[in-house]
Structures are given as structure tokens and as C-alpha cells.
């Protein structure tokens, strides 16, 4: 394969974290690493963004929790997770065995929740950054309210900022009129990076039973179907702010990932694609390397934000 002839340099610096390559796995789509360890050498990943953790364990929503849509899927998992303490005592030690960046995705139902998780994580070793999910569309009480109210976002993020020395990454909701407003608010709040996009709020109905396909009624749309929206938002956000961006939304191939890099993302995250191919993250990495060397690029860094508008 050409790719091995002169392998392009893949490391990137994300807010002071050196990632061996820009390919991460998206929160909630890769568990806490274990589930995919038998398919993927986790050491090959730039990093793992773990399933969202909260201060207390959360059961999540009743089933059905997922529904397939054209080139996408709806989910309303409801952020099921064992809570931050179990994460630290049982999940983190496993992840630390691998040579890859561990980014912990957090959320809560109140500002206090968010701060409590942040403080808890700040004190432990082996975490590269905290990704603050202010955009989960499936939790009535929390998430979304912050993610779609710029003042609430700013207030929350600046408080989280005060509670930790770790880099914090704001995960923004795509369900907003102007993503740049929220991107700037995150910068003002002192965030070190951005993650986008989270899922688009969607709904599907069984026309025979006349019931929603999800017990939760609405859910988050992810997968290739949303990629054009995600690329556009990363492009808009990258022009608006100077902090690095983790681009995600429908990435299945290395070509898809490079769209995000060219749009302005410094790293990318593979989500739903893991479900249809457990090795998707590695395939994305290899695909990126192949295209880079075919096009004679020496490093992936050269391409960040380099889409040239005619």
C-alpha cells in the first residue's frame, strides 16, 4: 500500500494534550473501552472519550431506546451510567493500562451535579481532559437546557472551569440557531476546547401502533445522515473561535474524518460507526493516512481548517 511509503505524521496538539493521532471515540458509543478492546488495540487510538458519567448512578430510560433511521439512528439511552465513583474505581484503572488519552465525558441535572463530578475527577490520575456534555437531548431535567441557553451554558462552564486544573472541552448542542454564539460563550467561560456535534433532536412514529418508536418519545439522531450538518457547524465554529475542536457526526471513513479536519477540527471522534463496525476507529485512522499520503501531505496538521473557498 502506498500509505506506508512515506507515512504522514499524525500527532496533533489538542489544548496542550499531545494526541498520537487525531482519532478519538465518541462518548457513549465506545462504552469504557472494554467492550471494544477485543476488536481494537486501544493503544492505536488517539484517545477514548468515555460514556458520560454523573455524580450518582443513573438507570437510564425504559426500552425501546433506539431506532434505525435512513443512514442514521435515534437513541434515548438516558445517560445510563454507574456513577463517577464506580467509574473511578472500576473503569478507569482498566483504561489507564493503555497508552491513549482518556477524556471523561460528564453531565448532571444541576450545576451542583456538574461541579461535584468535576471535583471528583480533578483529584484522580490518568485523565487527560474533561468533556462537559451540555447538550444531551434525552434528559428532560438537565443537559439540553444548558446547551440551548447561552447564559446558562456560560454560567455552568465558567463554574466547572474553576473546579479543575484539567483541560475542559465543552460539548455543544447542534440544536441551536447559531453555533458560534455558544462556541464564543465556551471560550469566554475559559474552556480549552470544543466538541461538536452532539445528536440532533429527532422523533419517529410507528404508524400502525401510533406510538413513538422510542419509549422516551424523542431521541438523538446520529450517524452518517447528520454529517453535512456537523461539518457545517465545525466550519462555522472554527472560524469563530481559536480553541481546538473535536469534530464528530457521522464519521465512517477516513475521507469523512478529513472533511472535519479541513473544516477546522483538530481531532475527530468516531461514534455510531463503531456499532456497525467495531474496527471503525482504526479504519478511519488508516483511511486518513492513506489519503494524506496519496495527496502528498506530510502531516495531518497541515490540513486543519484548510478548506479553500472558491
Amino acid at each position: 500500500m502506498e500509505t506506508t511509503v512515506n507515512r504522514p505524521s499524525m500527532w496533533v496538539d489538542f489544548a496542550g494534550i499531545r494526541l498520537k493521532n487525531p482519532v478519538l471515540t465518541a462518548s457513549g458509543t465506545f462504552g469504557y473501552g472494554e467492550e471494544y478492546a477485543e476488536f481494537v488495540d486501544l493503544n492505536m487510538l488517539g484517545g477514548i472519550i468515555v460514556k458520560g458519567v454523573s455524580i450518582k448512578p443513573i438507570q437510564g430510560n425504559p426500552p425501546p431506546r433506539i431506532w434505525e433511521t435512513p443512514s442514521g439512528m435515534l437513541n434515548a439511552i438516558g445517560l445510563e451510567n454507574p456513577g463517577v465513583d464506580v467509574f473511578i474505581s472500576e473503569k478507569l484503572p482498566y483504561l489507564r493500562k493503555f497508552d491513549t488519552a482518556v477524556i471523561v465525558n460528564i453531565f448532571g441535572y444541576s450545576v451542583e451535579d456538574y461541579l461535584a463530578v468535576t471535583e471528583r475527577l480533578d483529584s484522580v490520575e490518568g485523565i487527560s481532559a474533561i468533556e462537559v456534555n451540555i447538550s444531551c437531548p434525552n434528559v428532560k431535567a438537565g443537559g439540553m437546557v444548558f446547551g440551548t441557553d447561552v447564559d446558562a451554558s456560560y454560567a455552568l462552564l465558567s463554574q466547572v472551569r474553576k473546579r479543575t486544573r484539567l483541560p475542559i472541552i465543552a460539548k455543544l448542542s447542534p440544536n441551536v440557531t447559531d453555533i458560534t454564539v455558544f462556541a464564543r460563550a465556551a471560550v469566554d467561560a475559559g474552556c480549552d476546547g470544543l466538541s461538536l456535534i452532539n445528536t440532533l433532536l429527532g422523533m419517529a412514529i410507528d404508524v400502525r401502533s401510533r406510538r413513538p418508536r422510542l419509549a422516551n418519545c424523542t431521541g438523538g439522531l446520529s450517524g452518517p445522515a447528520v454529517r453535512p450538518v456537523a461539518v457545517r457547524m465545525v466550519w462555522q465554529a472554527a472560524k469563530a473561535v481559536n480553541i481546538p475542536i473535536i469534530g464528530m457526526g457521522g464519521i465512517v471513513t477516513g475521507e469523512d474524518a478529513l472533511e472535519f479536519i479541513l473544516a477546522g477540527a483538530t481531532a475527530v471522534a468516531v461514534g455510531t460507526a463503531n456499532f456497525i463496525n467495531p474496527r471503525a476507529s482504526i479504519d478511519v485512522l488508516c483511511g486518513m493516512e492513506a489519503i494524506l499520503s496519496q495527496t502528498g501531505a506530510g502531516s495531518v496538521r497541515e490540513l486543519i481548517g484548510r478548506v479553500n473557498q472558491a
Binding site: 457513549g28 458509543t29 465506545f30 462504552g31 467492550e35 471494544y36 477485543e38 476488536f39 460514556k51 438507570q59 437510564g60 425504559p62 426500552p63 425501546p64 431506546r65 433506539i66 431506532w67 434505525e68 433511521t69 435512513p70 443512514s71 442514521g72 439512528m73 437513541n75 439511552i77 445510563e80 450517524g223 452518517p224 465512517v252 455510531t272 463503531n274 456499532f275 456497525i276 463496525n277 467495531p278 474496527r279
Partner: protein, 263 residues
Amino acid sequence: MNKLYRAEILSNKAVGRGYRRMKLKAEGIGKTAAPGQFVMLRVTRNLDPLLARPFGIFSTVSGNIIEIVYRIVGRGTILLSDAGPGDELFMLGPLGNGFPAVRKNAVPILVSGGSGFPPLYFLASKTRKRAVVLLGAKSEDCLPPKDVIGGFKKLSSQVRIATEDGSAGETGLITDLLADVLERRSMKGEPVVYACGPNAMLCAVSMIAQKAGIECYVSMEERMACGVGACMGCSIHMNMGGYSRACKEGPVFDSREIRWKQP
């Protein structure tokens, strides 16, 4: 151990009653597969339909060949039925926890509703104990294919069939058959129920087993995205509170662990 394969289709034949039988070749797949486990099959190389489809393992033809029997019910299974010998499919498996091994003193009672028979067939073929097989369906055309029923007859001490409309076998629900079998207690040894089918039927079966005070293992169907425990999409409500993943802790559960939704 779970594996990701490019499985080669060896055959994909219509076997009647809307079912097809597919032989899949993949290095070593047959060696570890246990009754009750399943595989995830991608039905296209394109992005619609997006998700892989779960199918129970029907038999292991050899260490490198498994068989599934599937019913054509929607777009994914239609695509699957279009595939021919030589075509390759992305396959993940064997996945999940299957049925517990049948104990020496146990008499297995296999209870299948609708298209729930494949894992039970695999179980019947793997255990030395001759099982009692109960097959239920709405009507004759919803029963397992004839050759599968024939196979069950060879593998078991007794096969009883019930259809709701009486178009085949005894008229009534499969639960009637189960109750009847348990009353008679004709067989010597400890009866243990192994069931697969629609959730409502599994609920009814487990109630009967509970009353009779016998063990009952059920294979649960839930929509799945990843099949490996990562997406949390396939959750089953548990008695202890909280959810378990059909694809990881299941699909087979001890019926007493499940919080059944009474209809």
C-alpha cells in the same frame, strides 16, 4: 471470544413458511458458538439500512461453518435474501450468553413461539438429553419450516404443536401445552424450561414455570445497535432494579431475574 468476520455465504435457500436457511463460513466461528448465542450481520455495504441485524445461531455445521434460519420481515432481511453463495457479509459473533448447560438430572422442555426456534434447535442438537419440544404459533404458516420440525422430532422425545387458530396441531396457546406437560410430569427427572419467542409469550411461560416452581431460561429479543454491550440500546428491565443488556448479559436470562411487564 467475539470476532469480526467477513463471512462467506455458502448457501441461502428458501425453506418454506417465509423462512430462509443461510450457511456462513468463517474461520473458527463454529468452535466456540454455544446455543442461545447470536451473530450480528450487516446486510449492505452502503449506509441504508445502517445497523447490523441480530440472528440466533441455528447450528454449527463444522468448526468454520454456522447456519442461521431467518424470516423475511423487513428491509434488512429482504436484502439478506438477495445475497447469494460467494457473497461476503460482515459478521460479528458469537455474541452474548447462551443457555446454561443442561444438567444431568434435568429434562429440558424447549418452548418456542413464532420464530423463536433457532436457538432452541441448536440447544436440542447440542444436549445429549432428549428434550420435550413445544412449538406454538398464530397459525400453521407461522410455524417453523417443515424440515426444522422434522429435525426437532429426531432430536427430542416428544414434539407438540399448538396454533391459535387450530390450523395445525392442537388448538390453543403454547402455554396450554406447557401447563399440560408440567401437570403430567410424565418424564422422570427435573423439568427445566428453555424458551424463546415474543416477550409476551416469554412472560406467560415464566409465570407458569414460577408457579410450578421449576427453572426457566428465556432468550429475550430487543432492538440492538452494537451487539457488544457498548450502546446501552438493548436494555432489559431487571427485578433487582435497573437494566441489563440483552446483547451482553443476555440474550438468555433466568426468567426470575426479569421484571416482566404484565400485559
